[in-house]
Symmetry: C2
Subunit: 252 residues, 2 copies
Amino acid sequence: MSHLRVARSTDGIHFEVEGLPALVAATAYEGFGIEDPRITQLDGVYWITYTAVSNYGIGTGLASTTDFRKFERHGIIFPPPNRNVTIFPEKIGGQYAALHRPMPEGLGQHSIWTARSADLKSWGSHRVVATPRETGWDDTKVGGGAVPFKVHFEKEDGWLAIYHGVTGTPPVYSLGALLLNRYDPSKVRGRSREPILVPEAPYEKEGFFGSVVFTCGALNDGDLVRVYYGAADGVVAVADLSLQEILSGLVA
Amino acid sequence: MSHLRVARSTDGIHFEVEGLPALVAATAYEGFGIEDPRITQLDGVYWITYTAVSNYGIGTGLASTTDFRKFERHGIIFPPPNRNVTIFPEKIGGQYAALHRPMPEGLGQHSIWTARSADLKSWGSHRVVATPRETGWDDTKVGGGAVPFKVHFEKEDGWLAIYHGVTGTPPVYSLGALLLNRYDPSKVRGRSREPILVPEAPYEKEGFFGSVVFTCGALNDGDLVRVYYGAADGVVAVADLSLQEILSGLVA
């Protein structure tokens, strides 16, 4: 059953996966496992959002840790059907902020929304950020990926959020970027016209769920954007991208 | 387009509907209208939850008023797909509480959940209260109806929540009751084995959406439970029920 383990590395490329799980299914909302952790450091605490799968649906839980050995659960913060939750790494306008991805059927699409919170546990002020577009790569679903990080572009700070876009049957999952307003992350300054990463390698095209690149985390250092991503739901891979190339590919 | 109007009455039976709307669609989340208001009085303010329907899906918005003439909007408090939100009429354990009804498809059913809040605008601590049962009347969907009210039963206070249950194709909407723990409304003390109201009258069986009784509000005075409800999505009707009869029909 899906669970979360800690992997450690000194160079960010070679990892040692711990022998025992760090977080396993433990509540009624996690009966089919937990997946897709996104981790945000705030005030010395690592806050982990994760997808909780059960007979009640697919929702998002919150856990925290300071040492990646002992974890505390904080319950379901976005009830089903909602996943792909990333918490911004600092308060914005005095409140915490997150991206989330409700999954309406019939009316509404799988789109990226923002929410705001005073305590990381109760969320409100829900607003749409980005819906699927008719582009050929993110026309069916979009969802948050890596925790957004701050960048400077065209004389202004902004948040760069790497997200996934879905197209086709069977679905193909690619990655793109959103540049969000520094002070109001529901406002989109720019969005990748073309994907910044598409499934090409054999381990991205064939696997448990083929033709998928899906990120839960990225590092930024100068021009380097190092994206860690799940490939074909089978392995974790890494790709080094150029921040300037990502920014130059944005359109209004 | 669906909107909300004020209706006034001196006896609770004969109403005069105001000539002009009170709340009309006004945001991107209300593009197809607003529906199903539930009103809770807290500290002199009337808090109105309502279903907001748009291309973004079906979510729940919050508005408030003190005089039913001037209204203030507070945004989307439960993002799509989520409706049937009722706020409890007092704080429970120091926090506000609500019932809500997420609408997962595939994995999960349309079930009643609780959430908690410090300010009525941000919600967390999401927990399942009641899922559909194999009873023949609430086996497909369940959702909150009237704002819960406090009752005394078997030597303990509790919250009585009148909810709707759905069965069949085409669907039939009936009403039942949940008795919830006074201090933790996610805990169910009892639930109607049989419905307390089913579509029987011609105006309940035939209309815009036939075979529907659907409540957004009820009054309790002694043994009287006066239920106001939409009938066949065409008219508003009223039924007087006995609290003792409702309570005696509860099963574990």
